[in-house]
C-alpha cells in the first residue's frame, strides 16, 4: 500500500489537521482502535516537542504514514534544526510523591513504552524520527 505524506505548520492548531490525516489513513487500512490511539499519541508527543524545541523555525513538519504487513510505520521529518534525540531523554521519576512529580518527559516516555520501535537519525541538519507500531485489522 502506498504511503501518505503531508506537511503541517509548526503550531498547536495543526493538531486537528494532523489527527484528521491519521484518522483517514487508519480508516483506509482498517487499523484497530488501540493502535490508532498509540499512533495519535506518539505523533502528538513528537510533534509538540518539535514545536517546543524549535519554535523559531518557520519550516513545516512532515508526517508520513505507511503500512508494512501488520506494522504501521510513522515518520516525522523536521528540516534545518539542531540535533535532538528524543529516544535518549531521561526517564521521569514515576514513583515520586505527587509534590515532587513533574510533567516533563512523560510524553516521550509514554511514546517509547507504547510503540514497538523508535529510531532517530540526524542528517544534513534534518531530524528524522521513525516509529513502528504493530496493529490488528478491524475486519478483513
Amino acid at each position: 500500500m502506498p504511503s501518505v505524506q503531508k506537511q503541517f505548520k509548526r503550531q498547536l492548531d495543526s493538531l486537528v489537521k494532523v489527527f484528521d490525516f491519521i484518522d483517514q489513513f487508519v480508516a483506509r487500512e482498517n487499523v484497530d482502535d488501540d493502535a490508532k490511539g498509540v499512533v495519535c499519541l506518539a505523533v502528538e508527543e513528537l510533534f509538540t516537542n518539535m514545536i517546543k524545541y524549535e519554535g523559531a523555525n518557520s519550516n513545516d513538519i512532515s508526517l508520513e504514514l505507511r503500512v508494512d504487513g501488520e506494522m504501521i510505520i510513522v515518520q516525522l521529518v523536521d528540516h534545518d534544526v539542531e540535533p535532538f534525540d528524543m529516544t535518549k531523554r531521561p526517564v521521569p521519576d514515576l514513583g515520586a510523591l505527587l509534590k515532587d512529580r513533574k510533567p516533563g518527559g512523560l510524553g516521550i516516555f509514554l511514546t517509547q513504552k507504547l510503540v514497538d520501535d523508535m529510531q532517530y537519525q540526524y542528517v544534513d541538519r534534518t531530524s528524522i524520527i521513525t516509529l513502528k507500531k504493530n496493529f490488528r485489522r478491524k475486519y478483513v
Binding site: F19, V38, T48, L106, G107
Partner: protein
C-alpha cells in the same frame, strides 16, 4: 472535538480528544475547583501527556488544601496510559 463541563452536581465531565491544543480550555474549568471533585472519563476517547499534565497540576494544587480529584470510568487505551504513567499512585481511580 474536546469538551469539559462542570455538571450541576459539581462533577467534571470530559468528552472527545484531550490534546495539547485543549489545555487552556481544560484549565479554565479545573482551575476553578477548590474541593474534592469527581472527573468522569466515560466519553473521553483520547488523552496525551499535555492532558495528564493539567490533571496532575490540579491534583497538586488541590492536594495542598487537603482536597483531590477522583477519576471515574477510566477505561481502555486511556487506562493503559494511566497505568504506564503510574497515575494510580497519585490519583484515586474508581
Amino acid at each position: 472535538m474536546f469538551d469539559i463541563k462542570l455538571s450541576d452536581s459539581g462533577e467534571v465531565v470530559l468528552s472527545g480528544r484531550f490534546d495539547a491544543a485543549q489545555v487552556e480550555k481544560a484549565k479554565a474549568i479545573l482551575d476553578r475547583l477548590t474541593v474534592t471533585t469527581s472527573v468522569d472519563f466515560k466519553d473521553l476517547n483520547y488523552v496525551s501527556s499535555a492532558g495528564l499534565g493539567v490533571l496532575m497540576a490540579t491534583q497538586k494544587r488541590l492536594g495542598d488544601k487537603g482536597q483531590k480529584l477522583i477519576l471515574k470510568n477510566v477505561t481502555g487505551h486511556i487506562r493503559d496510559i494511566f497505568r504506564i504513567a503510574r497515575f494510580d499512585l497519585i490519583f484515586e481511580i474508581d
